[in-house]
Symmetry: C2
Subunit: 501 residues, 2 copies
């Protein structure tokens, strides 16, 4: 631009993964910072040939970067398609007009469709810092979105992502609000539904804070990171699939907002509804079953709040042209026996194979959800869905279909078993009075789940069950002796995980 | 803890300055992440001997850190008093109970004194991520704080910082809401008040997004980074001081919240009032003048919103036992001629020295504010304050006192002049119709302010002034030729900075 000042910098890879907003690293004595009048913390527009991103400026010691050099956080590097020694240019970013809508919502004003659209477009394009996104979410929470705004939010979230289109008139899906540990009904429900002949193109998530997501469990049994094209092929061939939603790009804004909401542990109804329904609409679904587990340690804690959520779901879904069935289920204790990818996969397989020791609660939940979905079919009368679901499952049809789906997704795999196991025995005779879901999840994670597929916790008892002194009530599975010991030491500190009285 | 797994890591300095929440950097294949079940992004408790902090986990390439090594962001490193190769331990952080209050506020509930206290204590102790703080601020904005909550917020913010105690019954202070470029009345007001014999222990801020803060301007003329002890000495000797508030630790929570608010460009009334009054109470003030400039490009844009703010200020101040005078002033155009540390300091000096060419608007504003403060004295009748202030200023007493204060703060300095100057001349004859405060500030920053003390912009005209074609209307001052050229190229793009018609 003029002597001594240049807005061009040479890229150097440092591989710093910030997991969040894009970050540009500049050396302490970067002349460009002074020249451009960049304050810190500052937002910077970074351009590499025809691509650009907004990044937050961090400063780094001159040892790692010299004047004239710059580095980018891992995700920013990838999005720009950057290579070592390429030249980027940096400049002041253009103002983000959508922030005025965020402020407007903070002040409690109603947002127009256009306003919501522009906010969601900027979030999806990763132009917001965490501060902006958190502010928007906080301003929308606490019942501050009208039904109209929730509908606009849902539509906007669909608009910014890819959308699947199917030929079938009825395309079904399911969603469980705030999962329970081990509640892995999806890999059972999908083959039941697909066997019946309904289309169920299911995308699932990986664990974010839990010991396993449905995608993690399914990955034990088959590849899940399919492209949209591959996913379509599977669904067209088998009528259903169970793939990782993160590999497809169906609701990019939602992925970002969910990260912030998890950090804050929010329960924003409007956001939740928009999040769930936008992903279903993007997947091309027309008929959806929503399962709301209600219980003290579940996400929805009372019948009353479940009812409010249910009504809102019906209202918004109706406006969006979706057919919905909401079922409320028991959210008091973990489902099945395993907690962790492989252990949950084993539960799933035993239910599909109708094994004698298959966990009955997991089977019953799968039948309940599948039954509700089947009743979307004009060939099934109300109240008869579960009968059909049970028949398809118990006849072995679902197991055959599941294997076919796995093969179509790239080949079926055998779950691994952990090398190291610690068994906890009851210290007294009595009744299982309480199981702490939160500590159980934590224990499974400490044992290595979901990173170590075979790691996790195996529960041998259910609430209300009578146990003898010395009876095995819980197993910790780990892939190394060291990690197992570590998890055991946690268990010893928190013996209230399972209360026998 | 057990073989193969150890929660101890060796520190390696990388000097990464994140400017915000503390960050711990761990190598990609850090076994401790797996062992402890850390998810990313995750919060981690970092301990070094008896000190601990909460940090956000970032992952870095194995080239920079080996397994068993860790690094910390600059501020975290400093707070822990860390040294290269020292051993830190990391673990899961304890839950932050105050986050439930943040969520409660998001849902629109009233917060108790205790709840507000715990939130502010955690913010001040730097235990919140930006997401948490942004969520709290968004939940409090838009008139969602009751007067009682604003009072509790103010008290809590005072409680977490250091407090000054003075022997005098009346201790005065002033504050201007949302500064105008060049509005540097403080270095004129303080010596007037101190000359009269009232106690005015003034702390000021440095620029955050502006080309100069009062502390930056004062620093041109004397040292401002005094400790609390040094500050007390100056005030006890001279009756007043003008020091940098950031060097003392009077409202640590506020410093953090202001950073988030600036990023969002919030105007949260409750937060603003708590922010201003908490700092004044911490400084030991009993009587305060609040100046609210009102104008289109000022922070407060209308008489109506100024009135709301004024009423709220009076109410909260009354509850906190403070005596307050609110004055509303003209916020339409920059004050004085200079924008930038040295240029503003020169304006201040010329007013204090009663120079013929001293900017009249700056002088009048200083007299207005000083007059309002003087009327807190029982020796001065209402309406006579400005007369006294004018007399003290014009008699040279204020100038003498100012020099005494500078010397007490460490010695008076001469403002530097810039080496390179570009002059903008009017392209036509006409009247100055519009001056864009925002672009002026940007231009001054591009010229190097506040980093380069002598850099900035000198305005030679005022709104409504008649100018001839070719008349000098604006000067850009810079410390290097290159930077000057850069600023000039900006000026050429944005010729609407000054509109002559």
């Amino acid at each position: 631009m003029s002597e001594g000042i240049c807005s061009h910098l040479k890229l150097k890879a440092l591989g710093i993964d910030t997991f969040k907003e894009h970050t540009i690293f500049l050396p302490k004595h970067c002349s460009i910072c002074i020249a451009q009048g960049f304050d810190v913390p500052s937002r910077v527009l970074v351009r590499l040939s025809d691509k650009e991103i907004l990044a937050t400026l961090n400063i780094i010691d001159d040892d790692l970067l010299k004047n004239g050099e710059a580095s980018l956080s891992v995700r920013a590097w990838k999005l720009l398609g950057a290579k070592e020694n390429q030249i980027i240019s940096i400049s002041h970013p253009p103002p983000l007009p959508s922030l005025s809508h965020v402020r407007s919502k903070v002040y409690g004003h109603h947002l127009s469709s256009e306003a919501i659209k522009s906010v969601i477009a900027d979030i999806a394009a990763e132009r917001y810092t965490d501060i902006y996104t958190a502010t928007f979410l906080a301003a929308c929470a606490g019942g501050r979105l009208t039904d109209g705004e929730i509908i606009d939010l849902t539509k906007s979230m669909v608009d910014v992502g890819d959308k699947l289109i199917w030929d079938n008139e009825v395309v079904v899906d399911k969603h469980c609000i705030g999962g329970l540990p081990g509640n892995r009904v999806t890999p059972i429900v999908v083959p039941i539904i697909a066997s019946f002949g309904m289309l169920i193109p299911k995308t699932s998530s990986r664990a974010i804070t839990s010991p396993a997501g449905t995608a993690d469990v399914m990955e034990v049994l088959a590849p899940v990171d399919l492209t949209i094209e591959q996913m379509k092929k599977v669904v067209n061939k088998e009528g259903g699939c169970i793939v990782w939603g993160g590999a497809v790009n169906m609701s990019p804004a939602d992925d970002i907002m969910i990260r912030i909401e998890r950090a804050m542990d929010f329960d924003s109804e409007g956001q939740l509804i928009a999040s769930v329904l936008s992903k279903k609409i993007a997947a091309g679904s027309t008929h959806i079953v929503i399962d709301i587990p209600v219980g003290e340690t579940a996400k929805v804690r009372s019948r009353a709040s479940a009812k409010i959520l249910e009504n809102l779901f019906y209202k918004v879904a109706h406006e969006l042209g979706l057919t919905l069935t909401v079922i409320k289920s028991d959210g008091v204790q973990p489902v099945g026996r395993g907690i962790g990818p492989s252990l949950e996969a084993l539960d799933v397989i035993s239910v599909l194979q109708n094994a004698d020791d298959a966990p009955l609660d997991l089977k019953q939940r799968a039948i309940m959800v599948a039954g509700a979905i089947l009743e979307f079919s004009k060939d099934i009368n109300k109240g008869e869905g579960e009968l059909y679901a049970k028949h398809i499952l118990e006849s072995g049809e679902a197991w055959n279909k599941f294997q076919a789906i796995c093969n179509a997704q790239g080949g079926m795999r055998q779950p691994l078993k952990a090398k190291h196991i610690h068994v906890l025995c009851a210290s007294r005779k009595g009744v299982v009075k309480k199981i702490d879901n939160r500590y159980l999840s934590r224990l499974a994670k400490l044992a290595g789940a979901p990173h170590d597929k075979a790691a996790g916790v195996l529960l041998n008892v259910k609430l209300g069950e009578m146990v003898d002194k010395g009876q095995q009530i819980l197993e910790i599975h780990a892939e190394s002796k060291g990690i197992l010991k570590y998890a055991v030491s946690f268990l010893k500190q928190y013996s209230e995980i399972i209360t026998v009285e």
